[in-house]
């Protein structure tokens, strides 16, 4: 039987999605359901003096209206930060309360203050307009760089500082800098992004008064984790009385990791009114209230010798948390950022210092790449600048500082088990025709255009992650994953996974893995996910962990099935279990022609005993049935890596940046389905290039979101991209049995510095902040013209 792992198996989920048969949360309609509309703060910062709901209550069709007071009276908990980070001085991080409905203060535009529940959506909207909230408007803090100098947003949190965190050794770094021939320094901004999943957030809450069970259908990347948080911290219901279902989910990119206000409010209110409640975000609500990403202001320095050896690295960053610290809000700018900021280089001394600040903006949390794009942008912009200042070819300078052997012990935290960075660089150069660039530059110049080339070599720590490691770093839970593999008596297989697919194609790729492990046709394997009533538990999908953690749990559960199968076969065929081999779905007694198929063995497990021709006694100690569970906790993160090369052409008259070529050469370890991986790379690149050239969430000084719709927030479109040139090198991960690493975030991590390095190369080294919009580039072109004229 040919192996399915590694082949372009067509997606099982496509029939459903392409024929309109997907079932998203908004598609769910329950008998007698009501509709919720949230009344949201129009101010970035204000105290609530009074809320008057009298007029709204009299509005047609209103069922109920709740405010923060009722939530507080019922002791419903707020939203939480999932990771506890300590400051350099040892003090705990400072987190404000974040009630599901604001009671005393609102802290960003969109912060919900009341929920209106009505018979129809239109009636709920009409009534919501009649809720009168008397605000005392306060001065907002919106700037990342100046947040520490602004008014105190949350009582008791001085300088709006959540923590002042250090990773690394300042003294060692100082010594390294003292020895340097040259110090390269850079000031960069990692622009704020809005995730923009295609499906806006939504939830439908249902209540069964007889069993006292609440069911919440919601757009989540991790339904089990949501249930845990809502139960343990939200106090909505005990876990066994709360079922969370995340059906088809149309994209998350991290924005659907969090439990949100609406989830808690609807789950709580459903019991109060004893009728189902449906809420679906409008796009403008998504812009305002989904978590945002990035938003760092960084000063970084690299100490180098004159022949280009890196000696030391400093990274001083201010990270904007937004109004509140959410689930991955505090770990994203720390342990997902700092350890990766030294990049793919051997740098003897390094530190990263992060001051995480609160502002009156939407909460910032994990967005595709989470911390690693910011880290990669920092080091790769710095290395590119070093290459310009030292006059050493950008690829040679990188190679000079790559690790020479694996495992590669990084300066700060990680030990990278496998990789071959030089091979990746060489292949990327070949794919991109790096040598031919100068000729292409001349061609562009002849047309009056500026051409630039940019390189990024990256690695990332994903497959998060080993419980022992993450809990020691402050994570509130262990990040293992579970799988359960069940055989039916007639031989089909259902795999229950704690991972969640919201675009990742698990229904296909996980089935490929199980098909290979069990020798069962892929058509006979179903993957079930997204329902806390189905499957044991799960930590969900983020940090490119589904395959490297969830996929391995499936492999391990399959291996347990095979082990039991061997014992059962041995008993049936009167052989020693040690003499039974398993291959391509058959249990074969070695050196004989005696064998059983896995289907026969599954059947025997469900009909154990001896009757007439049927002889299927179970071995002693084995129970009937064929079902195995695995909880897999990896021993390390996984470390994809690669080199990307971009080429841009700039029209100096309009400042228009045209991305001419984009080459991505990645090492993802073993690839399960190349077609799915290409899709992941393309998506990641689109978002990464989007950050570099187009996307930007902008607040004005009063805290109003200026880019609150697609009229002003530039989502990249297909015609913004060239044909992507994608290739791979492959070193297997040594820390998991499949040798897989993860591919979901690579594009978003590598693309921003790759594109910006190319833009800045075209601009003769002039710094431009992301996104490199036409006007910024046009100004830089004018400066370039002036300085060239001066030089001439």
């Amino acid at each position: 039987m040919a192996s399915l792992v590694g082949s372009r198996v067509e997606r099982k989920e496509d029939k459903r999605f392409l024929t309109g048969k997907g079932r998203y949360t908004a598609d769910i309609n329950l008998a007698n359901q009501t509709y919720a509309i949230f009344v949201r703060s129009p101010h970035a910062r204000a105290s609530i003096k009074k809320i008057n709901i009298d007029k709204a209550l009299k509005s047609s069709g209103v069922v109920s209206i709740f405010t923060g007071k009722e939530i507080a009276d019922d002791k419903i908990g707020g939203l939480i930060a999932g990771w506890a980070i300590r400051s350099e001085d040892g003090t705990e991080m400072k987190c404000p309360g974040n009630p599901p409905l604001a009671k005393d203060n609102v802290n960003f535009v969109g912060d919900p203050v009341a929920v209106v529940i009505a018979e129809s959506l239109a009636e709920a909207k009409d009534a919501a307009e009649k809720v009168e909230v008397d605000y005392k408007v306060l001065k907002a803090v919106t700037s990342t760089a100046d947040a520490m100098n602004g008014d105190t947003i949350h009582e008791g949190i001085d300088k709006n500082l959540c923590f002042d965190w250090l990773l690394g050794d300042r003294q060692k770094v100082k010594e390294a800098f003292d020895k340097a021939d040259k110090v390269i320094s850079i000031d960069i901004i990692n622009n704020r992004l809005i995730p923009n999943a295609m499906e806006p957030r939504a939830c439908v809450a249902d209540y069964n008064a007889a069993s006292e069970e609440i069911t919440l259908y919601t757009t989540s990347q991790n339904p089990h984790l949501s249930r845990l948080i809502m139960s343990a911290f939200g106090n909505v219901a005990p876990e066994h009385k709360l079922r969370v279902v995340a059906p088809d989910v149309g994209g998350g990119f991290g924005s659907k990791i969090n439990v949100y206000n609406e989830d808690i409010v609807c789950s709580w209110a459903v019991k109060k009114i004893n009728r189902a409640i449906k809420w679906v975000a409008e796009r403008s609500e998504s812009f305002l209230t989904d978590i945002h990403g990035r938003d760092h202001v960084t000063h970084a320095e690299l100490a180098v010798t004159k022949d280009g050896k890196f000696l030391g690295f400093k990274n001083e960053t201010i990270a904007n948390l937004g109004a509140y610290a959410r689930v991955f809000g505090t770990v994203t700018p720390t342990y997902l950022f700092g350890p990766c900021a030294t990049g793919v280089y051997e740098i003897p001394a390094a530190y990263t210092n992060v001051k995480a600040v609160y502002t009156n903006t939407a909460p910032v949390d994990a967005y595709r790449g989470a911390g690693r794009p910011e880290a990669t942008y920092t080091i790769e912009r710095l290395v590119e600048k070093a290459s310009m200042e030292l006059g050493i070819d950008k690829t040679e300078l990188r190679i000079k500082n790559f690790p020479t052997a694996f495992p590669f012990k990084q300066t700060l935290v990680h030990t990278v088990d496998s990789g071959d960075y030089v091979a990746g660089m060489e292949k990327a150069k070949q794919m991109a025709d790096y040598k031919g660039f100068e000729a292409r530059r001349k061609e562009s110049e002849a047309k009056g255009k500026l051409r630039g080339i940019g390189v990024t070599s990256y690695f990332e720590a994903c497959g998060i992650a080993p419980s022992a490691a993450v809990m020691s770093l402050g994570c509130g839970v262990g990040l293992w994953e579970s799988a359960e593999v069940r055989f039916n008596p007639t031989g089909q297989v259902t795999v229950y996974t704690g991972s969640h697919s919201h675009g990742q194609s698990h229904q296909t790729t996980f089935a490929q893995i199980a098909a290979d492990e069990l020798g069962v046709p892929i058509e006979n394997i179903d993957i079930v996910h997204g329902d806390t009533d189905k499957g044991t538990f799960g930590m969900g999908t983020y940090g490119s962990r589904s395959l490297a953690v969830g996929g391995i749990a499936i492999v391990n559960a399959c291996k347990k099935i095979v082990e039991k199968g061997k014992r059962v076969t041995a008993k049936m065929l009167e052989a020693n279990p040690e003499d039974v081999e398993f291959k391509d779905g058959e249990f074969i007694v070695s050196k004989s022609n005696k064998k059983k198929t896995i289907g026969e063995v599954a059947f025997a497990c469900y009909l154990p005993g001896v009757r007439d021709e049927m002889k299927s006694p179970l071995p002693e100690g084995d129970e009937p049935g064929l079902k195995e569970t695995s909880f897999y906790d990896p021993s390390n993160f996984s470390f994809p890596a690669g080199t990307h090369i971009a080429e841009v052409e700039i029209d100096p008259e309009t400042g228009h940046v045209k991305l001419e070529k984009y080459t991505a050469c990645d090492d993802f370890g073993r690839i399960i389905n190349p077609m799915v991986v290409e899709g992941q790379v393309h998506g990641g690149l689109a978002q990464g290039i989007g950050q570099a050239l187009y996307e930007n969430a902008e607040y004005d000084e009063t805290g109003q979101l200026m880019t609150g719709s697609y009229m002003d927030y530039t989502m990249p479109r297909a015609d913004n991209f060239p044909e992507f040139n994608i290739g791979y090198t492959c070193t297997h991960a040594t820390t998991n049995p499949l040798g897989v690493k993860g591919c979901g975030e690579a594009g978003a991590i590598a693309a921003p510095p790759t594109v910006m390095n190319a833009v800045i190369d075209a601009l003769g080294g002039q710094e431009v902040t992301m996104p490199a919009t036409a006007e910024k580039v046009w100004k830089a072109c004018k400066n370039l013209k002036k300085s060239n004229a001066k030089a001439a």
């Binding site: 239109a122 008259e653 309009t654 400042g655 228009h656 187009y694 902008e698 200026m706 880019t707 697609y710 009229m711 002003d712 927030y713 530039t714 989502m715 919009t773 036409a774 006007e775 046009w778 100004k779």
Partner: protein
Amino acid sequence: MKDFNYHSAKDSKEASKLASSSSAFLAGGMTTIPSMKLGLATYKDLIDIKNIKKLSGIKVSGKTVTIGAATKHVEVSNSKDVKKAIPSLSSLAEGIGDPQVRNRGTIGGSIANNDPSADYPSACIALNATIHTNERKIEAAKFFKGMFETALKKGELIEAIEFQIPEKSSYQKHPNPASRYAIVGVYVAKHKGDVNVAVTGAKSCVYNDKEMSKALSGNFSSSSIDGMDLDSSEMNSDMHASANFRASLVVTQAKKAVDAC
């Protein structure tokens, strides 16, 4: 969206009769409907004019192209007659919004709305258009009054737009990267006597840039406007483009348009 009364008018007369101070004509609805959904506009009555046959269609004569007000953008861009007579008008229509918008939006709707960054108003100015309404004929130069403001009176309905066929013409736009509306759009048309340089997106309302028109009327070459330093004091400034950048783009796009003629 608030409740409203929907009417479908048989002819211009009925449409005009139904109009009131709290009504709007509905053609493609590409601006009206989203504005109503967002609560930015509310109307008691919407008067649908799509079923008035007389308002749709394209007629080309020796000197003019006349397009019915309810003619969709896609019909203009697909019309072989328009492509032959005024190719730049055809390509302008092809570049409006997205396929959904082009399949519903109409030329009359675009002109009546007079969005400061809409494309069609620049064509009207550059191509010396005459706006035919149910009451009168209005020269384009007198039609566009200001931001979202036109010479139309209450109940007055655009029936057709008559464009003068130029010797040469081209429309070039620098789109807003997000909305793809024109940050600056420049329509250059060379007529027998003179040259029009109609600019959209740059100011609060479409206008004919006299300085460039004059220069190009003297010498129809991009070199005659190269490096021209336009007054940016009345130009729009927003997060996508400052007034100075817009001023520069007007010249750049005008040059491109001349070169493309």
